[in-house]
Symmetry: C2
Subunit: 513 residues, 2 copies
């Protein structure tokens, strides 16, 4: 079956064109909303063609840049290609592409790192101006012109609704059995007309399986047969295993105390290696009949579905390693009624997350002794990825857990620091911190007790005495004693890393005497 057979609507079939022709519909200065969330469901043909076109323009001495909006991160053919060609003026709401990251950190791309739950509403509210073009990858087009979503939903509904023109990539690489796995909710509105989102369980379906799309807005259709490209996860190492073990012990304790049952509450697990590894730790626990209400469905979630421990998983995108993606396709009939893909607006909606009472587990860059968490900016200025949906979950979950090894870069960086160099999650949004050293249950603790607990339970032994020393001196010399701190020293570890490549105190030199 070729891709064009996937286009059951005759009018839309008449719009088939090459990626090059479609790319020529995009002008310099345009704001373009593309599909894609992690390496799933992003357009794969138009972006490289557009990148080529833009490179040619640049070679001819012309200025050509676009503003790029997506669901979240995408694949190398999209963010990679466009970043490499200096095609992006402005980017929202998330990036994890290495080339894009490098250009952002050199100040060459303006990057607005957003709460993912804010994106669709704020676009509707008109805060970011007009969306010129939507470029959306889909699995197929129905006779009535409705669109079968692909492996991610992200902001596609909003892009299709808001854009002046729409370009579709119909990708026959996607399995047609995806039809029915999506739940596209059309009940959102602008205030004062908003109503409750009628979701009362993580696996409820409140929408429809396809996107509506006015065919007259469709300016072009590209047929493709190209694979999603998600990065593999790092193998699960001892550090991650120990982190997971601490967390599982904690959850079992919560069951013992009667605050949870062995069915737990809907699980959210963040992006990254550590969050993925934590899921693996669920395997050897008495927890059963679990549900996930999460943003991305990683390998760890698939394994839990396979074993039957996880009954259903709701997310906005697959974020599977290449191996897991093959496994998913091979067993799609098994997963069909267990997986629900929703618009990010719903997967990350504070209303729903608070109602369901998620257990959220996210990775972090660093936490300070008061439990403020930095998820995004290394040394306070260099972007790693972005806040993504971590804020949507952390503030609204039943319990918000952050996980990280206690050191990074072979021990040169302590992930527990006197003061976070940037804050994504304020102390009020962090109930539990876990490193391989141990777990800090911060619920109910006032700041100084938080500090003592975090230093004792989570800090690496190499840095623990330094943190104890800082805290003791802050207790003595701080301006106020609610959260004792020494502003002249609070960020000195970061400065030392920048200056010397390590947060460790430099060895005394002869000249110090």
């Amino acid at each position: 079956m070729t891709s064009s057979d996937r286009i059951k609507n005759a009018f839309l079939r008449s719009k088939i064109m090459t990626a090059e022709d479609a790319a020529s519909l995009i002008q310099s200065g345009n704001t373009v909303g593309m599909s894609g969330f992690t390496g799933s469901g992003y357009p794969k043909a138009l972006p490289p063609a557009l990148a080529e076109r833009i490179e040619a323009a640049h070679d001819a001495g012309e200025k050509f840049k676009i503003n790029l909006w997506t669901g979240a991160s995408t694949g190398p053919e999209l963010d990679g290609a466009l970043s490499k060609s200096d095609a992006i003026e402005y980017r929202l709401p998330y990036n994890s592409d290495p080339v894009g990251r490098e250009k952002i950190n050199r100040g060459e791309i303006d990057y607005l790192d957003m709460h993912l739950s804010h994106v669709a509403p704020m676009v509707w509210e008109g805060f970011f101006g007009k969306l010129d073009v939507a470029v959306i990858e889909v699995t197929g087009v129905n006779e009535d012109g409705s669109l079968i979503p692909a492996t991610s939903v992200g902001n596609n509904k909003t892009w299709i609704d808001c854009a002046e023109k729409v370009i579709l990539e119909v990708n026959s690489w996607h399995d047609e059995r995806l039809l029915g796995m999506h739940d596209i909710y059309y009940g959102t509105a602008l205030p004062p007309n908003r109503v409750p989102i009628p979701m009362v369980s993580a696996d409820a379906r409140i929408g429809q399986p396809t996107f509506r799309c006015d065919p007259h807005k469709v300016a072009g259709v590209i047929v493709t047969d190209l694979p999603d490209r998600n990065a593999p996860f790092s193998p699960i190492d001892d550090t991650s295993r120990t982190i997971a073990a601490h967390l599982m012990e904690f959850l079992q304790h919560e069951v013992k105390m009667g605050r949870l049952t062995n069915r737990l509450l809907p699980l959210q697990s963040g992006v990254g290696n550590v969050a993925n590894a934590v899921l693996d730790g669920l395997k050897d626990t008495p927890f059963h009949d679990l549900k996930a209400y999460t943003e991305v469905l990683q390998d760890g979630m698939m394994d839990l579905l396979d074993s039957g421990q996880l009954l259903t998983a709701s997310s906005t995108a697959f974020s599977l390693s290449p191996e897991a993606a093959v496994r998913f396709r091979e067993n799609l009939d098994f997963y069909r009624d267990k997986v629900i893909l929703r618009p990010t607006e719903i997967s990350n909606h504070p209303e729903v997350i608070r109602r369901l009472g998620c257990i959220s587990m996210n990775g972090m860059i660093e936490a300070d002794i008061y439990g403020n968490v930095n998820s995004s900016l290394v040394m306070g200025s260099r972007i790693m990825n972005g806040i993504g949906g971590s804020g949507d979950f952390a503030r609204n979950s039943f319990i918000s857990i952050f996980v990280s090894p206690s050191v990074a870069k072979g021990g040169k960086i302590s992930t527990i620091v006197p003061q976070a160099s940037h804050v994504d999650h304020i102390t009020q949004d962090v109930q539990v911190l876990v490193t391989e050293q141990g777990l800090a249950d911060l619920r109910g603790l006032a700041p100084k007790k938080r500090a003592q607990t975090i230093i004792k339970n989570c800090a690496h032994p190499d840095y623990r005495p330094m943190l104890e020393d800082y805290f003791a001196r802050a207790m003595r010399d701080s301006y106020g004693l609610q959260t004792p701190s020494l502003p002249s020293e609070a960020l000195s570890w970061h400065q030392r890393f920048i200056d010397t490549g390590s947060m460790r105190p430099r060895a005394p030199r002869a000249s110090d005497k």
Copy 2:
């Protein structure tokens, strides 16, 4: 009419006792949940009696301390008296009492500063342990034992439901016509049993006018006739007037752009002088038929109700100056159907705030050049009040606005700083910043543009060149250029204030040469 006539239930009338006797029901180590939200509706007889009892115990060399939970801040007879007597071991979720503040900042009270929307759910979830005693001020008791709330609702429903025993203060100072102004929602539950909160407009009523209370839990009833004691607001000065004018111009611009209508969206206005003054600025605008969905109802809201510009106001408490409180009582029949008091859990619920699309306007301590806001900790360590409900509103509102004079303490402090010494509201939660210098509309701006806009529009001219210089050097020397920063210098203004009493660079001295 004396207070005991206010107790229509015979069984509860039989429980009348003195404040001293009631105070003796509280033991050292108890966790006590008291009513009160700002200087409204807090118990006024038991706390001073308890303070006396505790002082006597201390004089006799006995340890006697309690853990104190409330709705938010309270009055001098409660937080003031208990703080003065060193009666408080642990305090949540908010304090603005000067004696309490002083003890917290000396490290003598453990203070957990919380999102107000988190308090009731987390208590229900069992995260803070058992509540021994609830002490609740009410306006009266109905024949069926239900309780007529007073001038604040706060966490009273939760305290009454969760506490092992309940002590009531029936205060005949409160006007009986308060009956019917409250909307106590009994539809909350623990996950997985939570359902949508059926509120679709700011003035909807979804609950009942009174509290349910098992009479057998009531251990004592005190009759009182004592006034609420709210602090007066500072007179509205030119600085506040200018801030308000900038904000009104902005809102009118939003109407012109079609993003709002002249009815705006439900207004939230924070605690403090500046937020109150901003409301005054609404007077001379074309905005009409307004509604408020806010946490506290200050003088400014009353004025707008009086003029008819504001149709209805929903809040969890009155926060009126003594003059406005008199005015309220004199015209209670006018206000009765215009004011709704709700549990804080509902007034501050992210689900409802996001659905209604509030326009939130809150005061701040400082903001940094990227728009991270500090609402609570002076110089990063000395508590002013707390985050209160500002985070509930800032993250979930249609638009989140923070207001402050550009300098504090006679110009010795710049409220725009290179890096916030503490973060309550992350850059993603701050869309507009206003000082008397101007307004920064940050929507859609990536960090470096945010910095330029904030420095240019909001910083005081005395500090603007210093900020420009910092930003320029950060652009040159920063580790990454997503949010250029210099960790060794980012908090140096705070350190200089601590060292010299001013953020201004000290004048060069002879010894500097």
